[in-house]
């Protein structure tokens, strides 16, 4: 086969070139990502069943231990491994280039794997009950910090390999003009990742040295500020990667095209320029940090990173609307949405992710991150209530949707039990939303995060708080069931899915063309993202009124929630 000579194959489904080296590492990273997702997921189930006061499963030391384990496996390991896979895919397949260095990819993979195992083992041994944040003066075993440093440096090597591949593609002219939008978004994520990982190094390296007894304890406030340069900014990497995946899945499942490349790319640029001090959101009620610093860094004067998310939140569904209307599904305001391929798990995961992230995560995040409103939110369950709908209902769900394409295309095997796969995004989405809402409402009643038993010293909260904690438990069980289903289906596919090597993958279902379109319709391409009329011309022919109505509903919900919180704040005692 010519494969051997060129080191690449052409994907029969999408027509994209696939670098075989990159394919190997994409597989490795994706499989490891799923393994860590399972570890974190089991932790999630145990935690949800403990915070549900009526069940109260775990003993006290194991609750805090598992909480530390859950945070690191979910927020760092699962997501970083998967993001490295996305970066390798974007740089090689979309730019038609070979991976710059297999050696670097091995170094990255092994460092991340060894580091992650070190962290998990030392936590389970009970030597690192410090939470993911490990705020000084709490101190874990040095292995804990060393493991995190290994993971961070490994990820950095992976990111640099991505940049090297971009450079190689540019130099060899493997593509013409500007890079595709998905690559642009992935690059934005990679740039933010470099800054993030450097913050991590600056915070964790001295802490590691301190844990070895070699230097004095770093200042706790300095640590908080620097650590959150890692902790919060890494979530912006996730946002960037997730938005890129939205664009990618929109294209694969409905043939959506970016309506205006300038707008989409501009919004990614806003992320790069205006997200980097989001660590401020964690220091809004800290001592010794001035009001001016807090307000400026909360908003960077104009909330331009929030603006970026609001732009993507419009352009992504608008591109789907235009694509659907162009195919002839144009009835009324929402005919395009009703006829969307809801049985395709790639689409349902993508669209649920968009809605849950926007309405759930976005609105709560911006509100809780407002300087003064943070007084009635800091360290309560409102905070995890926010980030479980951004990073789980948003990022993780979007990545699951991507897996329904990446796994079959890379392993060249059909998904097993497709009917269950079609249900999975709904189960997971509903579960995580229920859980996060339970957290948010319980938090509004003052229930603290990271607390084993809210009644350890007697009753403080009313029955309503208990009701919402039960919702956390029930939602957690539902979400875990969805997560386990995803893992079982994916592992089942990798091990014993029907092979379709050399043929296109069976379509998950994409909308048929109702109206004949001008130009050349793609023949037998189930993904159907190629061909058709130019996006701008399509956009002119098909208005985006449905999306505009959705966007206005979003803005209204945002304003109501935002001002309701100012009202709640005004009811608190005066404080300066």
């Amino acid at each position: 086969m010519s494969q051997e000579n060129t080191g690449k194959r052409i994907c029969p489904t999408t027509g994209l070139p696939i670098c075989l080296d990159a394919q190997f590492f994409i597989k490795c990273n994706a499989v490891l990502a799923v393994v860590f997702l399972l570890v974190g997921g089991i932790g999630a189930l145990l935690l949800a069943l403990t915070r549900w006061q009526a069940v109260h499963l775990l003993p006290v030391d194991w609750f805090y231990r598992i909480l530390t384990l859950h945070g690191l496996n979910m927020l760092i390991f699962w997501i970083l491994f998967f993001e490295i896979a996305i970066l390798y895919f974007a740089a090689t397949s979309l730019l038609n280039c070979k991976l710059a260095s297999t050696k670097a990819a091995w170094v990255s993979l092994l460092m991340m794997l060894i580091g992650a195992l070190m962290v998990d083992v030392i936590i389970v041994l009970g030597k690192a009950d410090v939470m993911m944040t490990s705020y000084l003066p709490l101190l874990a075993h040095p292995t804990f910090y060393f493991g995190i440093i290994l993971v961070a440096v490994g990820a950095l090597v992976g990111v640099l390999n991505y940049f090297a591949t971009l450079y190689k593609a540019k130099k060899l002219k493997t593509y013409q003009g500007s890079v595709p939008l998905v690559v642009f978004g992935a690059t934005a994520a990679a740039i933010i990742a470099v800054v993030t990982l450097l913050h991590g190094a600056i915070a964790i390296v001295p802490t590691f040295l301190h844990s070895m007894g070699w230097i004095a304890q770093p200042d706790p406030i300095w640590y908080r500020m620097t650590w959150w340069g890692l902790g919060h900014m890494s979530q912006q990497v996730n946002v960037c990667a997730m938005v890129s995946v939205w664009y990618l899945l929109g294209a694969l499942t409905t043939g959506a095209k970016p309506l205006n490349e300038t707008v989409c790319r501009g919004a990614f640029l806003l992320y790069i320029f205006f997200i980097n001090l989001a660590s401020a959101h964690h220091l809004l009620v800290d001592p010794a940090i001035s009001v001016g610093w807090k307000i400026w860094n909360t908003s960077y004067a104009m909330y331009l990173a929030v603006l970026a998310s609001m732009i993507h939140g419009f352009t992504v569904p608008a591109s789907v609307e235009v694509a659907m209307r162009h195919k002839g599904y144009g009835r009324g305001l929402f005919g395009w949405l009703a006829s969307a391929p809801w049985r395709n798990p790639g689409f349902s995961a993508f669209f649920l992710s968009l809605v849950i992230f926007g309405f759930g995560g976005g609105i709560t995040g911006v509100t809780l991150g407002t300087q003064q409103i943070n007084i009635i939110a800091h360290n309560t369950l409102r905070i995890p209530g926010h980030f479980h709908v951004t990073v789980v209902g948003g990022t993780t769900l979007a990545f699951m949707g991507l897996a329904y394409y990446v796994v079959p295309l890379m392993f060249q095997r059909e998904y097993v039990f497709k009917k269950l796969a079609r249900l999975q995004p709904y189960l997971f989405g509903i579960g995580i939303t229920t859980m996060a809402m339970g957290m948010s409402f319980a938090g509004s009643m003052g229930v603290a995060r990271r607390n084993w038993d809210i009644e350890a010293t007697g009753s403080i909260y009313g029955p309503a708080a208990h009701l919402f904690l039960a919702a956390v438990g029930i939602g957690g069980v539902l979400a875990f069931t969805g997560l386990l289903l995803f893992i079982l289906l994916t592992v089942g596919t990798v091990l014993c899915g029907r092979s379709f090597a050399g043929k296109p993958m069976e379509s998950w279902g994409t909308p048929r063309e109702l109206a004949r379109e001008e130009g050349h319709a793609p023949l037998g391409a189930p993904a159907g993202f190629r061909g058709g009329a130019p996006a701008m011309a399509m956009a002119e022919a098909h208005p985006t009124q449905g999306t505009m109505v959705l966007a206005m509903i979003f803005l209204l919900s945002f304003a109501v929630y935002y001002f309701a919180n100012w009202k709640a704040l005004a009811d608190a005692w005066p404080v300066r």
Binding site: P258, H378, A533, W573, P574, V575
Partner: protein, 183 residues
Amino acid sequence: MNQASRSSLECPAPDWFHAPTGNERTWIGLALCWCMVMSLMMPYWHFKGKQNSSGEAYSVKPADFIKRAEKFVLANTGAESLLDDGLSPVVPAPPGEVYLVAKQFFWFPTLKLRAGETYRLHVSSADFQHGFSLQPLNMNFQVVPGYDHVLTIKPQSPGTYPIVCNEFCGIGHQSMVGKIIVE
């Protein structure tokens, strides 16, 4: 315009640079306005609102802070030593400097304050980071060792208000609950 269509997986047409139009343009404008409103709300509340986190703090060694707190307790209870009367509420005369120590796993002392009076509440930690979470008002502030965090507060209505620690501070964290009594 380029005749080939370009998806987000393909390189865009060479002439991809266009100003936004139509609904997209309207939405960007609306979103920007909303962002401006949110930006202005914070400085507005800083000057006009009554609840702000000024971050007023002073460097202090944990041992020195504990000494100041003990002195404050003795001065306001009339007891000879902390052992005699360390547990009954301290009733400081307003307006004044009031001390609260966070330590694994308790808050010290219990304060009795008067509604409608203003106090300068000094909060700091003797060991790890803690979270000052006043319930059911749900007012939350970070407590960090080495930092004397000053909260200028004005209690509003009589009652007993639990102080929950909401920053993980060790395995006994959940039982770290104190109280402020307002009369």
